[in-house]
């Protein structure tokens, strides 16, 4: 039962490299797009409109971009989009709580669906908890 050797380490390294590749493939292009958006009038314009919502969780308006990318795609895309925004430790931490509770919603719902449960309620629970937790961490941090 206990079999650990080079094959374990090799497999781990391979998995690590696969994840690094997956994440580089998403983070690098998203990082590029957001860096360019940041210096264009587009992001400030979107950001201004979302200030009232993002204020509740203590984040700047442009943080809505990584949040939405994280909800619909995955954590990698969210990280790629939030890095160029140059957020503070406090803001990144609030972002991390919100994203960890709800991310990759379509994909993960599909996975949960495979176990035979209805997933609409689960998605709703995640988005609600994501926002409530953002508000909570904004208060305590």
């Amino acid at each position: 039962m206990i079999v650990m050797g080079w094959s374990t380490i090799l497999r781990g390294t391979k998995n690590g490299l696969v994840i690094t590749w997956e994440l580089a493939r998403v983070i690098i292009p998203v990082f590029f797009c957001v860096t360019i958006l940041k210096y264009s009038p587009v992001l400030p314009w979107i950001s201004d409109h979302l200030v009232p919502i993002m204020q509740m969780v203590g984040l700047p308006g442009e943080a809505a971009l990584p949040l939405v990318l994280g909800y619909f795609l995955n954590i990698y895309a969210a990280i790629g989009a939030l890095l160029p925004l140059g957020m503070s430790v406090r803001e990144i931490t609030i972002m991390s709580v919100m994203l960890l509770l709800a991310h990759g919603l379509p994909i993960e719902a599909a996975v949960a669906k495979q176990t035979g449960v209805p997933v609409f309620g689960l998605i709703l629970v995640r988005i609600t908890l994501s926002f409530l937790s953002g508000i909570f961490f904004n208060l305590i941090l």
């Binding site: 039962m1 206990i2 079999v3 650990m4 374990t8 380490i9 497999r11 781990g12 390294t13 998995n15 690590g16 490299l17 994840i19 690094t20 994440l23 580089a24 983070i27 690098i28 990082f31 590029f32 860096t35 360019i36 210096y39 954590i75 990698y76 990280i79 790629g80 939030l82 890095l83 160029p84 430790v89 990144i92 931490t93 972002m95 991390s96 709580v97 994203l99 960890l100 509770l101 993960e108 996975v111 949960a112 495979q114 176990t115 035979g116 449960v117 209805p118 309620g121 689960l122 629970v125 995640r126 908890l129 937790s133 961490f137």
Partner: protein, 161 residues
Amino acid sequence: MLEIMREAVLGSLSNVIQIAMIVIPLMIFIEIIKDMNWLRFLTAAMAPFTRWMKLPNEAGLPLVAGLVFGISYGAGIIIQAAREGTLAYRDIYMINLFLVICHSVFEDTILFAAIGAVWLPVLVFRLLLAVAVCLVVAHFWPSYPERLFREGQKAVESVLE
């Protein structure tokens, strides 16, 4: 424009390298957990919480697998357990509810730690939140998963076919 490109290239590459330096050792560690079968110990440590959430002992393994390896791995074990008939539909729903709130605790936590987030309070908060939500549903709203029972039973059967 050149300055912006420079910022994008350097910024994205340095961050990817920083994450890779942490993710590769982590994946080795996860393979070690798998091969040494440490899930047994974690499942045992989880047992009081599993009981608290009014789940059978058999629910421990999919919960821990999802927490350590991620939601797809957890789902794989749930499907296997459903095939063997060791988990009722209600249990399966509760495991899903727990795991959508909190899963891949190592990988996801480390990704955010690598980019500078404060990780420990966030990790503890997620675990507590998942337990709390399941406790509330188990003790005060047991009819919630039951209400979905008939529809779910059909779905489980279709998965098994």
